[in-house]
Amino acid sequence: MTMGGLALTDFGVIGLFDATPDAELCARLTRGELDAVGDAYDLYHEQVRAFSRRLLGDATAAEDLVQETFVTLPNAFRRFRGESTLKTFLLSIAVNHSKHYLRAAMRRRKAIANLAEVDSLGGVSDGHDGPEQLARRKQLVMLIQRALDELPLEQRVAFVLCEVEERSSPEVANIVGIPEATVRTRLFHARKKLRRYLEELGVTS
């Protein structure tokens, strides 16, 4: 049952944003069913993977983060109180585990930059851009990733969730577990730093 952005389930009111009725899946996870983890993966791995790749900027590290997120789900689920959707909960697990993987990704990115290679994101083109446009976008991605590496993790998470994933501040606050105002502050500082950094790198309009 959905009421203006709120989903009423067996677990109470869940999901301020994504009112997915995953109550049954939650119940199965509570019972410790192995298949429930598989089903949760099937449902949400795309969102978790996209976020991981955007945050880390490295496909290999992102894959590891996705794995860790779902492997720790059965244990972490004991803390789940049904106050958010399962997707939000999974993203918050990914955020909590991202620190270690981010370091690894940054090291790898620096090594690649030193070798003057193209980014390792394995990006997908929409097929409409010409080779020059595509090269420019790849260059932009590489630069924004380098700029993101300059940010503290908290600001980086806030920026990726708000700007790249286009989530609202309340949703990000829910994922990260901080007040909305703090999200906005982090986002403000992140934007400011990134603009300055991109300017320094010679990226202009």
């Binding site: 410790g32 192995l34 983890v37 598989g38 993966y41 099937d42 791995h45 795309e46 993977r49 996209a50 790749r53 955007r54 496909a59 894959e63 996705v66 794995q67 779902f70 492997v71 789900l73 059965p74 244990n75 980014d119 994101l121 394995g122 990006g123 997908v124 083109s125 929409d126 976008r137 790849k138 932009l140 991605v141 630069l143 924004i144 990733q145 700029a147 700007e163 790249v164 994933e165 286009e166 934007r191 990134l194 603009r195 991109l198 300017e199 990226v203 202009t204 309009s205």
Partner: protein
């Protein structure tokens, strides 16, 4: 005029929105494998680990409580009205010193050692009479009065056992000799011909010694040293009496 940050963000979004199905399938397999292993470990932990810990803790608690298996069997037997399962206590004068003390007395941790602070120094060999796993085999010379004081095993009551335990714990566990003396006196007053009367008398003498009441201790040890109590702790009593001699 484009915002370079927006352009970069847009490029990043597009670059990372594609799905690598091969990697996704591979990761799914890894996730489920890891979760399965986790679950197996948890099952093993709960199946073997917890019972093992429970057994160890139970054993430790059992040992700490100072109870023996036989005590429980005996108590259970008395509750269900069963006869004494094994050895019956002989009640003749000649068999006083073959009482199976270790079967009823709580296990003793260590023989009592008198420290230098005691009024008299006891010989190192002097130990407490209820040391577990010892069956007294001294050649008996008991008098008729002593033999009459020993009731049958089946006559041991809960009350007697609890009096004994209180005194024994005060003496050998908490080492509160004042309380122990009171405990042994209590026992001897309430069950003067109890199953542990002989031992209570000897322990009472040791308590007096510990409390520095030497003359009373000497008097209490005299029957043991002169053989009135048979051979029970005779040599130890003699050594103590010698040292207590004025």
């Amino acid at each position: 005029m484009n915002d370079p940050l927006k352009d970069a963000v847009s490029a990043l979004r597009e670059c990372t929105s594609g799905e690598d199905t091969g990697a996704a399938r591979f990761t799914r397999g890894r996730v489920l494998g890891a979760v399965r292993v986790q679950k197996r470990h948890r099952v093993v932990k709960f199946t073997f680990g917890l019972p093992l810990v429970a057994i160890l803790m139970g054993s430790a608690a059992w040992a700490a409580s100072g109870h023996g298996v036989f005590t429980w069997i005996q108590r259970a037997s008395s509750v269900f009205g069963l006869s004494q399962p094994t050895e019956r206590v002989p009640h003749t004068a000649n068999s006083v010193h073959q009482l199976p003390l270790e079967r009823i007395a709580p296990p003793q941790t260590a023989p009592e050692a008198i420290t230098s602070s005691a009024v008299v120094t006891l010989p190192a060999t002097v130990d407490e009479p209820t040391v577990a796993s010892k069956t007294l085999t001294t050649k008996p010379h008991a008098s008729a009065t002593v033999s009459q004081a020993q009731p049958r095993d089946s006559e041991i009551t809960e009350r007697e056992l609890s009096l004994y335990e209180v005194a024994h714990r005060a003496h050998f566990v908490s080492r509160d000799y004042g309380a122990a003396l009171a405990g042994w006196n209590d026992y001897l007053r309430q069950v003067p011909s109890g199953r542990f009367a002989l031992e209570a008398k000897y322990n009472r003498a040791l308590c007096l010694l510990r409390l520095g009441r030497n003359s009373e201790a000497r008097e209490a040890l005299a029957p043991f040293s002169n053989g009135s109590m048979g051979g029970y702790r005779k040599s130890e009593a003699q050594a103590l009496v010698e040292q207590l001699a004025p």
